[in-house]
Amino acid sequence: MKLLTHNMLTSHVKGVTKGFPLLIKATEVKVNDLEFNPQFVIRMIPKLEWSALVQAAEQLGHRQDLPSELLQDYEKNEEFLKKVHRALLEVEVIEGCLKCPESGREFPISKGIPNMLLNEDEV
């Protein structure tokens, strides 16, 4: 699971009102080498909840020097965009789980794939 995806996910456990962002508990993390595409990063930044991205990167020990606040005029800042690219797309959780911040319910991640299914009694 990549952090771009994580940034868009929220807990849907019944009754939960503050299900975003999900906490990440990772037992295996991989960092891939992915072709840097500044245009895509620029398009994704406005969709992000920035602090959730920083928090997630931090939880994985891969924050590096991602700033706490989104930079102004990031479009021309290639160095910054590369950091965002790395956090969003290159860091991947292979094994672990996502945890609902309110209910504590855990969604397992196995082979890089989260399982978001709820059981019948939670639905």
Binding site: K2, T5, F40, I113, N115, E120
Partner: protein, 466 residues
């Protein structure tokens, strides 16, 4: 590029393949819209004809369209046309000479092709037709193998294979500009794909769907019923980043029984990511997840540029969602059954589409598109049965017949406004809702006595790629 003496815009002629007829116009319109250009057909435009003359375009527009189109075989700069060869000649002699000479000077090489639609001509007749065009000021040399410029004489002998006229109904002559992407049908054929399932979308249609959805480079595309990822493969080819979900754990993980006749179990390299890797687009792979499309896990924002999907019809795969039954046994605490859906309710077809449209209204930007297949019982079809949503405008509805009683329709919708609180219930007050309820009986109708030979669900099917 000059303008003709007649003072009208430079025209182009597209030669389209005669299959998926219903899908062609929406595809070309979508590709034009991607370039901000309107659809301006010439006079006498006939949608069913393989030849379309379009106005108001530049050569870059034509290249752009042909770099994406599955429906169009080739595109030409139109030099002349007419009902007879005499009219064609007049038309050609009216084409600005200086524009012709660019491609005909003595150091150039060229070839003239003759293409006849709905008629087969002897080789000698083709040569005669080429020779009859000696009034054109070609000064270059003919090269059959690698000409710099290719020209095409196109003759349209009508649409009736049982009544082929002696002389063509219409004739065109043009300079070849580009071919379409029909090669993708072969290169991305499901037959050769690493990871497939019973319902993997055939390559041609998946690229057409990506075009209907106006997918473009650096888009983020989502498929909520992703299956084996055929639609993601197509979208990634056009430069979009892709993600998907499916309720079926085994399909998402690439486990379980193979859909190939001679293979029992799936191999280790069979999953959606491997499919993108096979075609060189792994870098566009974002994520796939096991998830129930009726219970979305996404935060409330316009996250996806396009949503493209083939929801289950309940025929070759089941329609399921998580939920409780009255006589259900509770699972042991703390153990979440990971390898299968805890309890499956049947997911009524009409609910699938209601949920899909609501989801799209929430998570697309204004102008973003939803493209999905709607299974249809033909004897009872009417336009009102197409699901409605106040935030989504219907763009196109293309039918693919499957049998005398069944077809599926590719529906394209575009978001026109943000949803308000009550919009998600709009379908209940709408008269559109009642006809669609009958759709839940789609599965019954499919399996009814009239369709006995389709009645059995196949566990393994011989993959019907092309």
């Amino acid at each position: 590029m000059g303008t003709s003496k007649r003072g009208s815009c430079l025209k182009y002629i597209f030669h389209l393949a005669q299959d998926n007829l219903d899908f062609r116009l929406p595809e070309i319109k979508a590709l034009l819209a991607l370039r901000g250009k309107p659809f301006c057909p010439g006079e006498n435009f006939k949608e069913k004809s393989p030849f379309w003359c379009l106005d108001g375009l530049s050569e870059e527009d034509v290249s752009g369209i042909m770099a994406r189109s599955i429906c169009a075989k080739s595109a030409f700069e139109l030099w002349g046309h007419g009902k007879t060869h005499s009219e064609l000649r007049t038309s050609l002699l009216n084409y600005p000479l200086k524009d012709m000479l660019l491609f005909m000077h003595k150091d150039s090489t060229y070839r003239i092709n003759v293409y006849t639609f709905n008629k087969t001509l002897e080789f000698s007749d083709r040569i005669k037709k080429i020779d009859a065009m000696d009034y054109l000021p070609f000064e270059g040399t003919v090269s059959l193998k690698s000409p710099q410029h290719i020209f095409c004489l196109m003759e349209d002998y009508g649409n009736d294979p049982n009544n082929i006229p002696e002389h063509p109904d219409y004739i065109y002559f043009g300079r070849w500009l580009a071919d379409g992407q029909r090669e993708l049908i072969r290169s991305h054929s499901v037959k050769n794909r690493h990871f497939i399932g019973n319902t993997s979308m055939d390559a041609g249609l998946s690229f057409i769907m990506a075009n209907h959805a106006k997918v473009k480079e650096n888009d983020l595309v989502f498929d909520p019923f992703v299956g084996t990822g055929s639609l993601l493969v197509a979208c990634s080819h056009f430069g979009a980043y892709v993600c998907g979900t499916d309720i079926d754990y085994n399909t998402i993980h690439g486990k379980g029984r193979s859909s190939r006749v001679k293979q029992k179990w799936r191999g280790p390299d069979e999953n959606i990511r491997a499919n993108l890797r096979q075609y060189g687009t792994e870098k566009m792979y974002l994520d796939v997840m096991v998830s129930d499309a009726s219970k979305p896990v996404w935060r409330d924002a316009s996250l996806f540029d396009a949503i493209i999907t083939d929801p289950p019809y309940g025929i070759r795969e089941s329609t399921r969602r998580t939920g409780s039954h009255k006589d259900n046994n509770k699972p042991p605490d703390g153990i979440y059954a990971e390898s299968h859906v805890p309890v499956s309710q049947s997911y009524h077809l009409s609910d699938i589409f209601t949920d899909l449209l609501n989801f799209s209204a929430r998570h697309l930007p204004i102008g973003g598109r939803l493209v999905y297949w709607l299974p249809i019982y033909r004897p009872e079809y009417c336009e009102e049965i197409v699901p409605f949503h106040p935030c989504l405008r219907l763009i196109s509805n293309s039918e693919q017949p499957l049998s005398s009683h069944m077809s599926r329709r590719l529906i394209t919708m575009e978001k026109i406004k943000e949803p308000e609180e009550l919009d998600s219930l709009a379908h209940l007050s709408n008269s559109h809702f009642s006809p669609y309820q009958g759709h839940n009986a789609f599965r019954e109708k499919y399996f009814s006595g009239q369709n006995k030979r389709f009645g059995k669900e196949d566990d393994k099917s011989d993959v019907n790629g092309e």
